[in-house]
């Protein structure tokens, strides 16, 4: 009798946990996963005064730890997080949450104080810190701790040299180091020269350029969210979604053959996954005429040069994509500067606005293209394979 009750319990338990796992696996399709994290980010930004309260934050982190431990009981999830390469991912998640909390907690306090007209946390006390002993001691302790952690890490987690590369035995999936998984994810959607050269350069140059674009002195030297909601939200989108979430996606959801797997799914290299990718040119020249039943439109993709050979075939073929992209990069900023970015445009002026839009447009074309790939199998807006220009 007792055994049967136990087994019923066990069955019910495993049933519930299986249901949860199946749900989470189903939600791991990238369009859902990234949408959900974006929604979570928006909710987090809207309710930053609530979730940063110490009790709420502690409860949330306890819930997360419970979830993580429960996940680790799953064989497939355990395999992912215990891979030596992936240990830093867990640390990254924890530290990202911690520093975000620290910043938003202080912003919440400061914003509340500003509303009441009280002095900020940063103002007031004269707190010069002496280099000796205060700073040097802190650095010494940090140095010793770092050394100890690194030594223990190096001893406990093996990072052996593997055999020489062999084309018949390739790791599947072949993953970059954890900190590059976000960039590797970009390579799925963009040409190597965009995902590997242009976008990383824009990230670095853009971060350097930020203080020259943003002249607003509010928030200099003190934490606040209320005074700078647009700037901080934009940065949080770029940082949290376009970097952290993509690393998490690359670590937990990319499996053999670079297919998407749920975090609790077995990595089966033979699982069929069909992805027929199409270009905008295919949609415009082939699919739409077919769908509209244009019998007279036979040629499909244009293959002949026009204007006496001065306009090569690929320009005609890719014209729809070129028009779309030109609109996005050159017309949209004009419209925005006249409408919702009117105030920003007048504050920062023409040159700064151009740089601002350059950075914004490239940041947002990444999620736009990802969503189009996931939902409509879009491959390239403009695909000039003849000259390796594919966007």
């Amino acid at each position: 009798m007792t055994t049967s009750i136990h087994s019923v319990f066990a069955a019910a338990e495993s049933g519930i946990s299986d249901t949860i796992k199946d749900t989470l696996n189903a939600l791991s399709v990238p369009e859902y996963f990234v949408s959900i994290t974006v929604v979570l980010l928006i909710i987090g930004l809207l309710t930053y005064r609530q979730w940063t309260r110490p009790m709420v934050a502690v409860t949330l982190s306890l819930l997360f730890i419970a979830f993580y431990v429960w996940s680790a009981l799953d064989e497939n999830f355990f395999k992912i997080i215990t891979k030596p390469d992936n240990i830093p991912i867990t640390m990254m998640i924890v530290f990202t949450a911690l520093v975000t909390w620290v910043a938003f907690r202080q912003a919440a306090i400061n914003d509340a104080r500003l509303e009441k007209g009280e002095p900020l946390i940063e103002s007031g006390a004269d707190d010069k810190v002496l280099v000796w002993p205060d700073l040097v001691y802190t650095e010494l302790i940090a140095m010793v701790l770092c050394t100890v952690v690194l030594v223990v890490w190096a001893i406990v987690l093996k990072a052996p040299l593997e055999p020489p590369a062999n084309p018949t035995n390739i790791p599947n999936p072949s993953k970059a180091p954890w900190y590059f998984l976000g960039l590797q994810e970009l390579l799925v959607y963009f040409d190597p020269w965009i995902a590997g050269v242009l976008l990383p350069s824009l990230i670095i140059v853009g971060l350097i350029a930020l203080p020259f674009i943003d002249k607003n002195p509010r928030g200099n030297g003190y934490y606040t969210f209320k005074q700078r909601p647009f700037v901080i939200s934009t940065f949080m989108f770029g940082w949290m979604i376009m970097w952290i979430v993509l690393i998490v996606l690359g670590t937990f959801l990319r499996g053999p053959n670079w297919n998407i797997f749920g975090p609790y799914e077995t990595w089966d290299p033979h699982r069929p996954a069909a992805l027929l990718n199409i270009n905008i040119s295919d949609v415009f020249w082939v699919i739409t005429p077919d769908w509209l039943g244009f019998e007279w439109w036979k040629p499909g993709l244009p293959t002949k040069a026009a204007l006496g050979g001065y306009m090569p075939a690929f320009l005609i073929r890719e014209a729809p994509g070129i028009v779309l992209l030109s609109g996005y990069f050159f017309v949209l900023p004009v419209l925005l500067a006249k409408t919702i970015f009117r105030k920003i445009y007048h504050e920062i002026g023409f040159t700064r606005f151009c740089v601002f839009w350059l950075l914004m447009s490239w940041m947002f074309i990444v999620p736009i293209k990802m969503v189009l790939r996931w939902m409509f199998n879009l491959k390239y807006f403009v695909a000039v394979t003849e000259y390796f220009v594919n966007i």
Binding site: G117, E118, P119, L120, E122, S123, G124, A125, D126, D127, V129, N166, P167, T168, I170, P171, N172, P173, S174, Q184, L187, V188, Y189, F190, D191, P192, G196, K215, N216, P217, R218, N220, G221, Y222, P256, N257, W258, N259, P269, H270, P272, A274, L275, L276, N277, G300, L301, K379, Y380, A383, T385, E386, F388, N390
Partner: protein, 358 residues
């Protein structure tokens, strides 16, 4: 005891309109250079002792300047110690002190120069209001400057300034450069010039040499250490083996061949050699016989059995090598490639050397 303000240092802020007024008033100190479109302080006037006797005319020139760019510092001395000046008249202490402020503030603060011979009591040194506003609005904590809340009690003009962004504030008048014109004494300086030039040559020369050597070392590093002398031709056995394959089947025997492997694929009416390098970023795809496709483990590009890309980021189909028959033997020659530029642009594959017809 009466004191007197004497000019020790003169300089010119940016904004000179090259109008000759100052040179007319005080030619000892100012020199207008129409060619350079500016006015300079003569080198002699960089000396405090040279300026002191000229206090009167310098101040006059400063006041006459239509754009108020002439600034000067003064020092208070006993009236008795004043050296003989051409015109020992009123010493305008207030005007001198105010002159270190930007023009707008000076106009408000000192409406009239005191006419009496008795100099005004020494004022505290007037700080640039821009600096004052920033200092008032700022406290330094933990290494960074913070906009303080305690600016309510300050005058409106300063409150206003604390709200401006730093590049809208008036320039700090104390940090402007003085355009100097030096007249080098040829004999003395030529030797020093020679030494400096020599040192510079040696210094930059060694920097260039170090850079050049490391560039060469880098170039050597980038050059392959191994000379590839392998035969581009690979003998792949008799044709019968490949004729036995069903259309769409892939032979993986020559995947590990160095330096570049290939698959031999059987199409409906021909046999071809397909390179194993993914056209996206150069990873090596795996042949998945169950899915009947090549799938790249790096970024998920997928290729049909004939090498045509259909999924993932790869822009072009897999490349093909020259393949031909030598008697009954199939030879693959990797020195010649046939590139298809897109899934619909595979005309190059129809070249007779790109496949063996079946």
């Amino acid at each position: 005891m009466a004191t007197k303000a004497l000019v020790t240092k003169v300089w010119i802020d940016p904004g000179c309109i090259v109008c000759d007024a100052c040179e007319t008033t005080c030619p000892e100190v100012f020199e207008v250079q129409h060619d350079n479109e500016t006015c300079i302080i003569r080198p002699e006037a960089l000396d405090a002792e040279f300026n002191k006797p000229l206090t009167e005319s310098i101040i006059e020139a400063a006041e006459e300047c239509p754009v108020d760019v002439i600034k000067f510092d003064t020092v208070e001395v006993d009236a008795a110690d004043v050296p003989a000046a051409p015109k020992p008249a009123a010493a305008p202490a207030a005007g001198a002190a105010d002159a270190s402020e930007p023009a707008t503030a000076a106009a408000k603060a000192s409406p009239e120069k005191p006419a009496s011979k008795v100099a005004a009591p020494p004022k505290p040194k007037v700080v640039d209001p821009a600096i004052q506003a920033l200092l008032a609005a700022t406290t330094v904590r933990g290494g960074h400057a913070v906009i303080n809340q305690g600016i309510q009690d300050l005058p409106d003009s300063i409150k206003h300034m604390s709200k401006l962004s730093p590049d809208k504030l008036p320039p700090d008048a104390r940090h402007q450069k003085v355009l100097q014109k030096s007249s080098p004494k040829k004999d003395e300086t030529s030797r020093r010039d020679f030494v400096v030039l020599g040192a510079l040559t040696v210094g930059w020369g060694s920097v260039a040499a170090a850079g050049g050597v490391s560039t060469l070392a880098f170039a050597r590093f980038m050059a392959p250490n191994v000379l590839e002398v392998e035969d581009p031709k690979v003998r792949c056995g008799s044709l019968a083996k490949y004729l036995a394959m069903a259309p769409g089947e892939v032979n993986e025997d020559y995947k590990p061949v160095k330096p570049s492997g290939f698959w031999i694929v059987r199409e409906e009416e021909r046999i071809a050699a397909v390179s194993i390098i993914c056209t996206h970023l150069g990873c090596i795809p795996s042949w998945l016989p169950n899915d009947r496709k090549f799938k790249c483990p790096c970024h998920g590009s997928g290729f049909k059995p004939n090498g045509v890309n259909f999924e993932g980021p790869a822009p072009r189909p897999l490349e093909r090598f020259k393949i031909y028959l030598d008697g009954d033997d199939v030879i693959v020659d990797r020195s010649k490639k046939f590139l298809a530029m897109g899934p619909n642009d595979t005309a190059k594959w129809n070249d007779p050397e790109a496949s063996i017809p079946v």
